[in-house]
Symmetry: C2
Subunit: 336 residues, 2 copies
Amino acid sequence: MADIAAQAGVSISTVSKVLHGRSDVSAKTRGKVQRLLGQHGYTLPGRHEQPGGLVEFVINELDNPWAVELIRGAEDALQAEGFGMVVSAVHRRSNLARRWLDNLTSRGSLGAILAISELSAEQERELGQLGIPFVEVQPSADQGPDVPSVGSTSWNGGFTATRHLIELGHRRIAMITGPAHRLTSRARLDGYRAALDQAGLEVDPTLIRHGDYSHEPSYQHALELLDRPDRPTAVFAGNDLQALGTYRAARRLGLRVPEDLSVVGFDDLPFAQWVAPTLTTVRQPLANMAAVAARMLVQLINGQEPETLRVELATSLVVRASTAPVSPHFPDRGQA
Amino acid sequence: MADIAAQAGVSISTVSKVLHGRSDVSAKTRGKVQRLLGQHGYTLPGRHEQPGGLVEFVINELDNPWAVELIRGAEDALQAEGFGMVVSAVHRRSNLARRWLDNLTSRGSLGAILAISELSAEQERELGQLGIPFVEVQPSADQGPDVPSVGSTSWNGGFTATRHLIELGHRRIAMITGPAHRLTSRARLDGYRAALDQAGLEVDPTLIRHGDYSHEPSYQHALELLDRPDRPTAVFAGNDLQALGTYRAARRLGLRVPEDLSVVGFDDLPFAQWVAPTLTTVRQPLANMAAVAARMLVQLINGQEPETLRVELATSLVVRASTAPVSPHFPDRGQA
């Protein structure tokens, strides 16, 4: 143990703490010590084999259909590993995040999956000090290379969706996306721009709108975009709810999807197959993202080093009935 | 303490256990002792004031939009009371329910909200023996008057929905509902029958179909119902997903909603407002039902007696665009 303490640059008592699975060691130190212990032939008790071990799942709001996809994926993976999952909503309020951190300590949770779009630097430091590993799902801000995270290939999704519309002959393609400061929105928008660039099409900034990924604002944005004489012939929406808001605006203005307007969404939530017309959308494997995050977290809890700390799962375009070749009559109809 | 033990008919050590908040006392005994202690002026430590106390939320599947409504309501109420909520899906598999019961004990959970449609008598007895109070949300089977539960007025919802269609002039009204053995399905169906009876209309058993509350089977049922020469002019669906399945079948057969077919759903999930046409549906306050169950559970954990052990929250009809007066041309069109 003295050897390992020396190699890790920590005290013998710290090595002992790690050996006994105590939680008052930082995740980084624990990881280092556990790796050395492993190299020296020690078998570490798998902490997750203690029955009833807890992991936290934290999200901002529980009011949307993708929350249940993430919960399902994380719960499924954690249950298979013998963990219980405590679900908390923090509603973007720092006092709730504070209380969550206090409660997490009292209940002895071993790790956290963070599906919240913003984690303050202070909260992150605190988790580190508590020695509680965490993994972010779909982080909205870049937390640096050391912060474990699982996302999806947002840029590629934006690129593929836009290229699909270009291949159908669309030239005026609008985008209604999420908040400008969120990385996922930014990546989808950059993918959209890249596809237009590659096709030699100019990016018209008046065709780009930032909503908040919910229904009502996207409906308003779509109404404005579609009520112009030079209206777009296609809308790429930053998520499926925004696509439904676009459907509603089109109906309100008497435009038919896909005859008068093509619409592409993002997420492929179950309802995308149930609406009329069925929605062409970029599939984001939400449940699988949460499951991968959960398994990565279990590795960290057990002191194993994940192969990579940052994972992006592939998105894929699912073509359904909401996209069609641009109408040959469009110039007339658009200017009518 | 000896007095209280004598009055409660238990040992002094049991009274002591209750005073110290130990969990190895049955819920029934604990309740009795706590009431007597309260009458004798003892102030009981509110167990939920211990930070990080845990409560279980158990559901069969996390793959549907009402799961997130229930989780949201329960989490919100429990967070306000200082509890953490562990979410588990048992997928109707007894080995998972078994594992959940084992884990619940290890993590020292103080109570459980059961949103699973079937709880075996054995599991229920086991929870009782562990002294862990539980409340059922929308129970699908009658567990007897002693089992605390929160539901909604399903019969009344079925009655109101059907009467709305009758008032619009519909006479051939089909119902696509959930499994026949579930109480909620049965109550909705009985409400439908009662409304028809009251209007002097005959119940046509060939117009009643049992699905499983999911999309695909309801689509198949609706296709069969709507493809008959004597097709119904209205469908009352047992939930909103089944209503969407009915929309899809109508589109497939070239029937317009609501001109050719009126449709009523049940639940009022968020998407009911976003689909076209917007869905007339029976609003069931899912999040509130789970919140009421959570608060009732906290009372039971604290040894308080809820005013009533069985609560049904009111449902209400939300009229939107999917229902309209029956078409005067119907007889011709129906037989065409």
